[in-house]
């Protein structure tokens, strides 16, 4: 498998995530889509790094992992608090803020 | 003693012919299954002996085939699929557990380089630069089997059991992960064969101007890490005294409640394989792997050929015995005690220990006085901090009567003044001061006070 295939995979994953955020309605699913996008970016970083034998990309991936984890923690906290006060994780149910 | 001929290095791997690889894989798998069969028998016999009863002794010699019989019986039990279950996940959960626990064996070194039909090959399925990460990954992924199984059952007890179990496993995973850091630091590698080799290298320490060979096992060099690792191993495998997911009195059979037939058997299998795998990992990381223990090393051939397999298996059996021993002697911990042990005792000790070790190693090249200063000052500061830490005196516990009186108005019908009615058991329970669990005692040698961290 040529390395460029990984790039294509990364783009596909990213696109899935990006589209998922736009079409799905459950906060948790949205959140997972975002994580998917982050990991797609990681894959792209590592692949670029691999193709050109440059280590920087892999180091970046490390940092991204940390950031993603921090995001998970914060995001879960927020989604949980909204879930506990509404009993629903659907984004559509959260509709108090409108024009 | 560095890098003897039989010591495999990372370069030794990836050169086997295909049939050798296949053979190793199959053998490793067979080892896992056999270990389970024998392990269950072993456990029942040993516990039986401890409880002064025979244990299984009917099927086969010494009841050796009892487990096999149980397994076959299991296969012919009805396979129940509860109506509320999530079919697919319910189906796959046990397989995840098994796969994860078995796969971990792939990087465990069973022995040195041996000669098989003219091929020189290490007695180990494979080794990679990040072998220990593979181990950790396997043990982490195992959580999925449990939590998904509990969730997919569509029932309350399994769900809670699965959650508890996953909380427990990830808590102890942290402790486990941290305790390995010291090993990496000392060995300078993450490959299992490399770690075994590093332990073989031994250490030298100087005493009165003489350089003497010291012990090489990390269980000795890194004792705190070893103890924490082993405790975490027990927690990670859900074994007694940490077998909370299956606490019968609270959660029936935990995440396995809705499982029957071979699916149930698979969960059992994975538990025992985990036990064996974890023992093997402990041996690899801390007990010198396949290397012979000290008195045997007098015989120079002890660490070559197929012999090390024996030492290795012996150490594993010993550890499995400790597992069984713990089960036979210790009562189950309460969940809060258990979590507190993991988060409040093991974790901080681990971090402090890592820092201390790192500091020790960093300063190893320094002048003696500098080194004493560098190491001594933080220690002194820490000790002073501990001694002079403003200890909060707990407020004198109000008597039961006072507490009853202090309740908010209207929460409970008050007895008339003249009638001395003792507080009801419910009230007593509600207001009873929770005594902090004496976790230090449970952790055995870890014994410490919370303030110390």
């Amino acid at each position: 498998m040529a390395p460029s295939h990984y790039l294509i995979l990364a783009s596909i994953l990213f696109t899935i995530g990006a589209v998922g955020v736009l079409v799905r309605r459950n906060a948790i699913v949205l959140f997972m889509c975002v994580e998917l996008m982050l990991n797609a970016a990681n894959l792209a970083l590592v692949t670029f790094s691999r193709i050109n034998g440059d280590l920087n990309g892999q180091i970046m991936a490390f940092f991204v992992m940390v950031v993603a984890a921090a995001e998970v923690v914060v995001g879960l906290a927020i989604i949980m608090s909204i879930f506990r006060s509404r009993r629903s994780a659907s984004v559509d149910d959260a509709n108090l803020l409108k024009y | 003693m560095l890098n003897l001929a039989q010591d495999p290095t990372l370069q030794s791997f990836g050169h086997d012919t295909w049939w050798l690889v296949l053979a190793k894989v199959v053998l490793a798998f067979v080892f896992a299954v056999l270990a389970t069969l024998l392990g269950v028998w072993f456990e029942r016999r040993v516990v039986g002996l401890m409880q002064v009863r025979p244990g299984p002794n009917q099927v086969g010699p010494f009841g050796l085939l009892q487990t096999l019989a149980d397994g076959i019986k299991m296969a012919f039990k009805e396979d129940i699929l509860p109506t509320k279950a999530d079919k697919v996940v319910y189906f796959f959960a046990p397989t995840i557990s098994v796969i994860c626990s078995v796969t971990a064996l792939s990087v465990v070194p069973f022995g040195p380089v041996v000669s098989v039909f003219g091929h020189h090959t290490p007695l180990q399925v494979t080794d990679v630069q990040v072998a220990v990460l593979v181990l950790l990954a396997c043990s982490s992924m195992g959580v999925y089997g449990i939590v998904l199984g509990g969730w997919a059952s569509g029932s309350t007890y399994p769900l809670l059991g699965g959650l508890r179990s996953s909380a427990q496993m990830i808590s102890y995973e942290v402790a486990m992960g941290l305790s390995i850091v010291a090993v990496f630091m000392t060995a300078g590698t993450m490959s299992t064969s490399g770690i075994v080799a590093a332990q073989g290298a031994g250490t030298r320490f100087s005493l009165f101007g003489q350089s003497l060979p010291g012990p090489g096992w990390y269980a000795v060099l890194l004792l705190p890490s070893f103890i924490i690792f082993f405790i975490a191993t027990v927690g990670e495998t859900n074994r007694a005294p940490f077998d909370l997911p299956e606490a019968e009195s609270e959660l029936v059979a935990g995440f396995m409640t809705e499982y029957s037939s071979l699916k149930f058997a698979l969960f059992m299998l994975s538990e025992y394989v985990s036990m064996v795998t974890m023992s093997a990992v402990t041996v690899t990381l801390f007990l010198g792997g396949w290397r012979a223990p000290w008195p045997i090393t007098i015989w120079s051939g002890a660490n070559s050929g197929w012999w090390p397999l024996l030492w290795f298996l012996g150490k594993v059996v010993l550890l499995v015995f400790v597992f069984v021993w713990l089960r036979g002697t210790l009562p189950r911990m309460r969940y809060d005690q258990f979590m507190r042990l993991g988060w409040k005792v093991l974790l901080p000790i681990n971090l402090v220990w890592i820092l201390a070790l790192a500091g020790f190693r960093v300063t190893s090249g320094w002048e003696r006085t500098d080194r004493l200063m560098a190491l001594g000052i933080p220690v002194v500061v820490a000790l002073l901090a501990i001694f002079f830490w403003p200890s909060r005196k707990p407020a004198p516990a109000p008597s039961l009567q006072e507490q009853v009186h202090a309740r908010p108005e209207g929460s409970f019908p008050l007895p008339p003044m003249d009638l001395q009615v003792p507080p009801s058991p419910r009230t007593r329970r509600a207001v009873a001061e929770r005594q902090p669990a004496n976790v230090g005692a449970d952790a055995g040698t870890v014994g410490t006070d919370e303030r110390e961290v």
Partner: protein, 519 residues
């Protein structure tokens, strides 16, 4: 044995950032070990002292022009200027956040599940209320300081998250209207994470471009702006990766800057978040976001200016248009200010796109001026309240001028500043960015800016009409007497708006003196 090269770290240059991170960590410890009753004063004092200390260091660093920490951080004129402004604005925001006398117990809730005015709530607030907001704010500010100083995209990404994550949480902490607040936080978080994912993928693509460009020339790839600049200048490689990367990185930054069409979170979050936090976001986040944008465009991608200018120009026009037009229809003062902030993001983009020294300095000037004004605006919003908390619906503001002429007057002044009436900072800053953009040849942007300013004047005027020209009704809320903190913040904000409108020369000179990036 060691063949690793450790980067040299200029600690004094990094000191402001380190101080704030230290203060934030200290804040967490205080939170853990200081008795509840003392926490609020102690935290506030420590926070203010930390900000002041960082500010002093920034001033002491004034002449520094250096790259440090392995070229990951650039301490140069714009960095110092923006850091200074973030600290200054953050100080005011901290004062607003620290207000405890307007509402007993403050505007923040510790636990999402506790309903206001229940015994549990009263108990929680009796000891000075929630104080976790201070460490969170300090972390956010520290992240912002790092963000404007970041000289590579990865550092920038991390800083972005460091200042975003606390903000997400801060948004969820409103003590009243909790559902609204949580919803705002969730939206902000989901969209923010979405945007940062784009940013990150953009980084990956840019990295791919640089490693591709460096292929065969021996030097490695990377995402620091020097490498990117060199790659953009010299590369014969296909620029597809670069353009896609720029686009995605820009999306991430424009989201934070609240530029259309990435502004959709702004009104919701501004409305739902606790008002002091809204002020903090409106002022400081904007500074940080535009600081980052300036550096990315001016230092990293300047070689591709011809390619991104039209696109960003279109974004700027759309932003101004959306902000101005939608502001007209708003009925909630916080939403109105949110849309106005969107429109202001558009004006700032006009300044950015001048792509010149003047553009840089005028944008920085605008950021400071706008920050002061918007903080004062939200400060006043916190004061207009009745027994149910802040009264943010516009109909409630009718006749406010009769109830409390002072605050209505201040708010009118602020609105006039937003509308760009001369003798307010709103005018001078608009003048600065438009002038720079016209100088830079972006006539069409200036024209769009002027046209939208006309539209935007209408909603402001409507509020003024509401306050002064209507008679107060039954539902007109009283204006709370501000505590010293809010009083100081509003006073400083309004005074700065006036001073920067009447005598902007010193700050302009300062901004101009600072307007030089190091590469």
């Amino acid at each position: 044995m060691s063949d690793l090269k450790f980067p040299a770290i200029n600690y004094s240059a990094l000191a402001p950032i380190l101080i704030l991170f230290g203060v934030a960590c200290l804040g967490i410890l205080l939170e853990a070990f200081v008795p509840r009753r003392l926490r609020h004063p102690v935290q506030l004092t420590v926070g203010l002292l930390g900000v002041v200390a960082a500010g002093v260091v920034v001033i002491r660093n004034a002449g520094a022009r250096t790259l440090t920490a392995g070229d990951a951080v650039a301490i140069d004129g714009p960095t110092l200027f923006l850091q200074g402004s973030i600290l200054l604005l953050g100080l005011l925001a901290l004062l607003l956040i620290g207000e405890r006398s307007v509402e007993r117990g403050g505007a923040f809730v510790p636990h999402a599940a506790v309903v206001i005015d229940t015994p549990a709530d009263r108990e929680q607030q009796s000891g000075g209320g929630t104080t976790e907001v201070y460490p969170l704010t300090m972390f956010a500010m520290a992240g912002m300081l790092l963000f404007v100083a970041a000289n590579d995209l990865l550092t920038m990404f991390i800083a972005l998250e460091v200042f975003s994550l606390p903000l997400y949480l801060l948004c969820a902490l409103a003590r009243r209207r909790r559902l609204l607040s949580q919803e705002a936080a969730m939206k902000y978080f989901l969209l923010g994470a979405y945007a940062s994912a784009f940013f990150l993928f953009g980084i990956a693509l840019v990295y791919g471009f640089t490693v591709g460009a460096s292929n065969g020339r021996g030097q490695g790839g990377g995402v620091d702006f020097g490498t990117i600049h060199a790659a953009v200048q010299n590369s014969s490689a296909s620029p597809v990766l670069l353009f896609a990367g720029i686009a995605m990185v820009s999306i991430g930054l424009l989201f934070k800057a609240a530029a259309a069409p990435f502004h959709v979170w702004t009104p919701d979050v501004y409305q739902g978040a606790p008002t002091p936090v809204t002020g903090f976001m409106a002022a400081c986040t904007k500074v940080a976001a535009f600081g980052g944008l300036l550096r990315v465009l001016y230092v990293g991608f300047s070689g591709a200016a011809w390619d991104f200018t039209p696109v960003l120009g279109a974004v700027a026009v759309l932003t101004m248009l959306v902000g101005a037009v939608l502001a007209v229809t708003q009925t909630d003062i916080k939403r109105l200010l949110a849309y106005s902030s969107v429109a202001n993001a558009g004006y700032l983009l006009v300044g950015v796109l001048a792509l010149s020294k003047d553009g840089l300095s005028s944008t920085m000037f605008y950021l400071v001026a706008y920050g002061f004004t918007v903080l004062a605006a939200f400060g006043v919003v916190t004061l207009v309240r009745d027994t149910d908390g802040e009264a943010t619906h516009l109909s409630r503001w009718a006749g406010l001028g009769r109830r409390s002429p002072l605050y209505a007057g201040l708010f009118t002044f602020i609105l006039l500043a937003f509308a760009g009436i001369p003798l307010t900072s709103g005018f001078t800053s608009k003048f600065a960015v438009f002038g720079a953009a016209l100088d830079g040849g972006q006539t069409w942007l200036v024209i769009a800016g002027v046209l939208t300013s006309m539209v935007l004047a209408f909603p402001y005027l409507r509020v003024v009409v509401m306050m002064w020209l209507s008679e107060p009704g039954e539902s007109t809320p009283a204006v709370a007497v501000p505590g010293w903190a809010t009083g100081a913040a509003v006073t400083i904000g309004v005074a700065a708006t006036l001073v920067l409108g009447v005598a902007p020369a010193p700050l302009l000179d300062l901004a101009n003196g600072a307007a030089e990036f190091v590469r």
